[in-house]
């Protein structure tokens, strides 16, 4: 394992990316906490929205990419796709948990409750539960190929709930407010400064997600290599040790 530290070395471009995140995050926080105007109804509480909505969107993206790379693994069976899928799944769990925590923080002073079982919140809770299930399933299976396949299927099921979750407030009666930005072009019901602040913070959240995705996938790749090498070593030593050879 002399090259272990070499394998684990973070490439220069990734370090630059990581350092660049600090001022970007600071700018996003400044836009949200200082530069953005107050809301006519919510006052300063609107500032929580920039963190809550941007994190929620990136959580959706993370779930989507988990399923996308899971599907790629099912399609062509490259270990690398499974590694990226897991990396994204961990971040999907982190971001969707943060969505719930941020949502509760935002909801208590505005909607007057931490939690209610409306369609949007129920679907989000379900998403977190299914992501936890994803990791339980992974922990139960030793064979990397089977593990990758089964967890890819779980990821696809989780991703299938995304459109329902995204459009929940439009399709069902919810306490959660509807979207202020309609992707079908019917308009944005948000002041331009607020929209800019939200989009900037979403880009920053996306870059944070991307950085951790790349870094975690890098580690996952080394992990997969080590797992492979260990399996080969065991296969070599098993017959000479006089043990039972399993094929």
């Amino acid at each position: 394992m002399s090259d272990a530290s070499e394998r684990l070395r973070r490439p220069a471009w990734l370090r630059v990316w990581g350092v660049a995140l600090v001022p970007l995050f600071g700018t996003g926080a400044y836009l949200g906490l200082v530069w953005s105007p107050q809301d006519v109804n919510q006052g300063n509480l609107i500032r929580i929205m920039y963190a809550h909505v941007s994190v929620a969107w990136i959580g959706f993206l993370a779930v989507f990419l988990t399923a996308l790379f899971g599907s790629l693994f099912l399609w062509r069976g490259k270990r690398r796709d499974d590694v990226v899928s897991v990396a994204s799944a961990e971040l999907a769990l982190l971001f969707s948990s943060l969505t719930i925590i941020g949502g509760m923080t935002y909801s208590r002073p505005t909607l007057n409750t931490f939690w209610t079982w409306d369609a949007k919140l129920t679907l989000t809770a379900l998403m977190v539960a299914m992501l936890v299930g994803y990791f339980i399933v992974r922990g139960l299976i030793d064979d990397p190929v089977r593990r990758g396949r089964v967890s890819a299927v779980v990821a696809i099921v989780v991703a299938a709930s995304l459109p329902f979750n995204y459009l929940a407030a439009e399709w069902f009666r919810t306490l959660h407010p509807s979207r202020a930005i309609a992707l079908d072009g019917s308009g944005v019901t948000m002041a331009p400064e607020m929209l800019l602040t939200l989009l900037f913070n979403t880009v920053v959240a996306g870059l944070v997600y991307g950085w951790f995705l790349v870094d975690r996938a890098r580690l996952g790749h080394v992990e997969a290599q080590l797992e492979q090498e260990r399996a080969e070593l065991e296969l070599q030593s098993a017959p000479t040790a006089g043990g039972v050879v399993r094929v």
Binding site: P37, V40, Q42, T110, L111, N112, T113, T122, L175, R179
Partner: protein, 149 residues
Amino acid sequence: MRARRGFARRRVVYALLGVGVLAFAGFMISQALNTSLVYFILPSEYAQQPSQYQDRRVRLGGLVAPESVRFDDLDLQLTFDVTDGLATYPVRHVGSPPELFRENAGVVIEGRFSENEFVSDNLLIKHSEVYEAPKDGHIDIEALRESLQ
């Protein structure tokens, strides 16, 4: 050859099992969502079938009717009318009004109808998806307070 056929058959069994499990999960989700889907009823929906909702715990959603809000801050009695434009009902709620509670604000109240008055024990705000800065750059707290008198 036999192994391959076995594999093919097993795959069919797995696919059928998978579809079965997904269908079951979908059924469970739709059942669970069913109560969430009709998260609240509207005053006009109550007006159509009052007997169905009488003495049952329901969520009622609507707007706070203008000039109907009374708040007694000594014994925390809040009364207002909730309306959806078609039907209007008086609401009695024990507790102080939430921060975003005001005339024409969207509310979801939990409780039950007793006769034609709604007795609420949980007052939630349903605000719109419109976010904008106040015209003169700051919020008129006094006007807000006045609307709650």
